[in-house]
């Protein structure tokens, strides 16, 4: 590909294989590429972690940039990350909800403060190693699921605005599989090619969010376990639990029990039996639509999922006022969890999504 004037693109280099190969692809396509590594927190001991933002990874990213012969800088967004991701993460758990910090991070940090920084540095676009495809149709930027559906990351991207999308490139969307990415990395002998995938919440050490929360809030307030309106035991804080949880409850009962509801006000944890964990309908807030705009009262038949690693199932979306909405699934879904996101699809297209507020009967 040739370009009259080179378009300057900033690529977020994590140090992992995906963003490294994405940077390479951009360079191949003729862009002027600058590598930026995000420093978001310093909570994790780099020797004991493979999470995406450790000290190790900044070094990996630096080596990759060196190999690709592109300028490289570390961008410090710790303050913003604390304010927009970590603080709300803690508050959500305290409110009896189960947050998804990656979605907030994409919205406010990776494609918010970071994009702003890239533009300050004179870059026209920001690129990432996400597996998703951005394309333009009918005057709108839309997002298609990646060719490799196993790696599809559109679930985390529903919060992006049209203005953000206008400045984002995701070069890995057209790659058929992660294996291809690994192969390219191997062929280029990229230092990062052997690095493992990052999957955990990057700022929570050892994937132990309870320990992390405890460290941040000091101590949890204990409360009662409730089953069939009866107190059947004590728990040491609602922060320990999420909807649908069965293990680690610390109550002995003749039949398996599941968390069905968390009450922040009186600190109670409602328990139920296997069947009580399923539901068909939910209400949500903060809807963001990528595919098209809808007005209050509009309805759409979509496929929807309420967890990242889940298959989308048919559902009806009904728009209400002020970003609130309802979803009626055609079949039962397990563990509708306030604070998590419900994400909509139309065939391969990411339609939009929002935050789950409550299960509707």
């Amino acid at each position: 590909m040739t370009m009259a004037k080179k378009i300057k693109v900033a690529i977020g280099l994590s140090g992992g294989v995906d963003s490294s190969v994405a940077a390479y692809l951009l360079k191949q396509q003729g862009y002027e590429v600058i590598g930026l590594h995000l420093k978001l927190h310093d909570g994790i001991d780099p020797l004991h972690s493979r999470a995406c933002c450790s000290l190790d990874s900044s070094l990996d990213a630096r080596l990759v940039a060196h190999q690709l012969d592109i300028p490289f800088y570390v961008i410090n967004l710790k303050e913003s990350f604390q304010q927009y991701v970590i603080d709300p993460f803690v508050e959500q758990y305290q409110a009896g909800r189960t947050p998804n910090p990656c979605i907030e991070c994409n919205k406010f940090i990776k494609f918010g403060a970071f994009l702003e920084k890239a533009r300050q540095l004179g870059c026209d676009k920001l690129a990432t190693g996400h597996y998703a495809t951005i394309y333009q149709q009918n005057g709108r930027y839309r997002i298609k699921q990646a060719k490799d559906s196993a790696k599809d990351q559109t679930y985390m991207l529903y919060g992006l605005t049209q203005d953000q999308l206008a400045h984002i490139i995701m070069p890995l969307g057209d790659i058929d599989s992660k294996d291809t990415v690994r192969r390219i990395a191997m062929e280029l002998d990229l230092t990062a090619a052997t690095a493992q995938d990052s999957q955990d919440i990057c700022f929570v050490p050892d994937d132990d969010h309870v320990a992390f929360l405890k460290q941040n809030v000091g101590s949890f307030e204990p409360g009662n376990f409730i089953l069939d309106d009866q107190v059947i035991g004590q728990h040491s804080g609602i922060e320990h639990f999420t909807i649908g949880q069965r293990k680690g409850l610390g109550v002995s009962w003749p039949e398996p029990l599941y968390v069905t509801r968390l009450e922040a006000q009186d600190r109670t944890v409602q328990l139920g039996r296997a069947g009580d964990v399923f539901g068909k309908n939910l209400s949500g807030s903060q809807i963001n639509l990528i595919y098209e705009d809808l007005a209050p009262g509009d309805t759409r038949e979509v496929n929807a999922k309420i967890r990242y690693a889940q298959k989308a199932v048919p559902a009806k979306l009904i728009m209400d006022d002020n970003g609130s909405f309802r979803v009626y699934f055609k079949e039962d879904v397990r563990a509708i969890t306030p604070g998590q996101s419900v994400v909509f699809y139309l065939d391969d297209d990411l339609y939009g999504g929002g935050i789950i507020e409550s299960k509707l009967s």
Binding site: I34, V74, I75, N76, K78, E116, Q120, G122
Partner: protein, 383 residues
């Protein structure tokens, strides 16, 4: 793209003469200075000559120079000497010291020592009177940096040394930025100990020295051998020390011209920036100042973005101390001279050196204006 290096206070490139001396040492003078055979003895002689060269630069005697692995070790060692040789629990310093002094002292506070961090004036300086007032019965050490690494102000260390001597207290100064940038004469002052670093004066990294005035009782920080008159163990880094000595010799030979040339370029750079860009604040003392230091805060912008954009133009600068980059917290030096968080964020340190040319200065003056303007246009702080 041409590289314009304006970060001499972080480190300097080595001079060709230094590289030559070191290359020769690597090739031929591989002896261990403690060995009995002739190769070892040869190294021992060179080591002693090097000690004399470094001593000469600061008007000291060779036996007052102790080689270390650099400025940070020297700072730590000076503090250790006070701890182990003086009875008492109180130390006086300033709130704009380098972290190589601040952090060891903070660690001592946890062990029961009391530390007075003297507040500095708007230029980052303290007065001898301030120091004297802070002295307590059990003060064992006064440590005040010679030249501030971020804003370049020169403290009245000779007068402070007088005060310390009057009260019989050890006086240490971190002289890392001062060495080779201001005349220092230990034969006419009362400084007890001074930290020095080779790589700030066009010598190699990993070498430094602690000046310890004769008569000051000395104990080792690093134990394990009889080197450096039994107070600094470890086989001497002969090539590094010889390089340091050569750099010291060169610095001594041209100190006046070095100061004169740099001061002129520094003031040209300052004027070129300050006269062309509004809402900028020049930090540090206007006259009592490191000859190559320019430190300016640009309102409404972040220093980090400014640095990256300058780098993309080939210009190497810093926002303050290289030792704290990667942290977004504004510099403790800028905060302690009374700047607000917002203003301190937009700081830029340009430090000039012997390889800086008039044209480099012109280029930086020209490049910096549009970058600052562009960042201000995009800044949420300007509205």
């Amino acid at each position: 793209m041409k590289t314009i290096y304006m970060d001499y206070s972080a480190t300097t490139p080595m001079k060709p003469e230094v590289i030559e001396v070191m290359t020769d040492a690597f090739k031929h003078h591989y002896g261990n200075a403690s060995s009995i055979h002739h190769i070892g003895q040869e190294a021992k002689v060179l080591l002693q000559q090097a000690r004399e060269q470094v001593a000469q630069l600061i008007g000291a005697e060779a036996r007052e120079i102790f080689f270390t692995a650099g400025g940070t070790e020297s700072d730590n060692w000076a503090i250790q000497i006070a701890l182990e040789t003086k009875p008492g629990k109180h130390i006086i310093t300033t709130n704009v010291e380098h972290h190589a002094v601040l952090h060891p002292l903070e660690a001592l506070e946890k062990k029961g020592y009391r530390v007075t961090y003297l507040p500095v004036d708007e230029y980052g300086m303290v007065t001898p009177e301030q120091v004297e007032e802070a002295i307590e019965e059990d003060t064992i050490l006064i440590s005040v940096m010679y030249i501030n690494n971020e804003i370049g102000s020169i403290n009245p260390v000779e007068q402070i040394a007088e005060v310390a001597a009057k009260h019989g207290i050890l006086f240490h100064t971190d002289g890392v930025q001062a060495l080779g940038n201001t005349p220092i004469d230990m034969s006419t002052n009362k400084i007890s100990m001074m930290s020095m670093s080779s790589h700030k004066i066009y010598g190699p990294k990993g070498v430094g020295a602690l000046y310890i005035r004769k008569g000051v009782r000395t104990v080792p920080l690093i134990h394990g051998g009889a080197q450096e008159r039994k107070v600094r163990a470890g086989t001497e880094n002969i090539p590094g020390i010889l390089g340091f000595a050569k750099a010291a010799e060169l610095a001594g030979a041209s100190l006046d011209q070095h100061i004169e040339k740099l001061s002129r370029l520094r003031d040209k750079l300052r004027d070129g920036i300050m006269n062309n860009i509004s809402d900028a604040k020049y930090n540090g003392h206007p006259v009592l100042r490191h000859p190559g230091n320019v430190n300016i805060c640009f309102k409404y912008i972040e220093g980090e973005s400014l640095l990256l954009l300058l780098d993309m133009k080939g210009i190497c600068a810093s926002s303050g101390s290289a030792c704290t980059s990667g942290s977004l917290d504004p510099s403790h030096v800028l905060m302690n001279i009374g700047l607000t968080h917002e203003i301190a964020h937009g700081s830029l340190r340009l430090t000039l050196g012997d390889f800086t040319t008039e044209q480099d200065v012109d280029t930086v003056i020209e490049e910096i204006k549009p970058i600052v303007e562009r960042l201000r246009e995009m800044s949420p702080l300007t509205e």
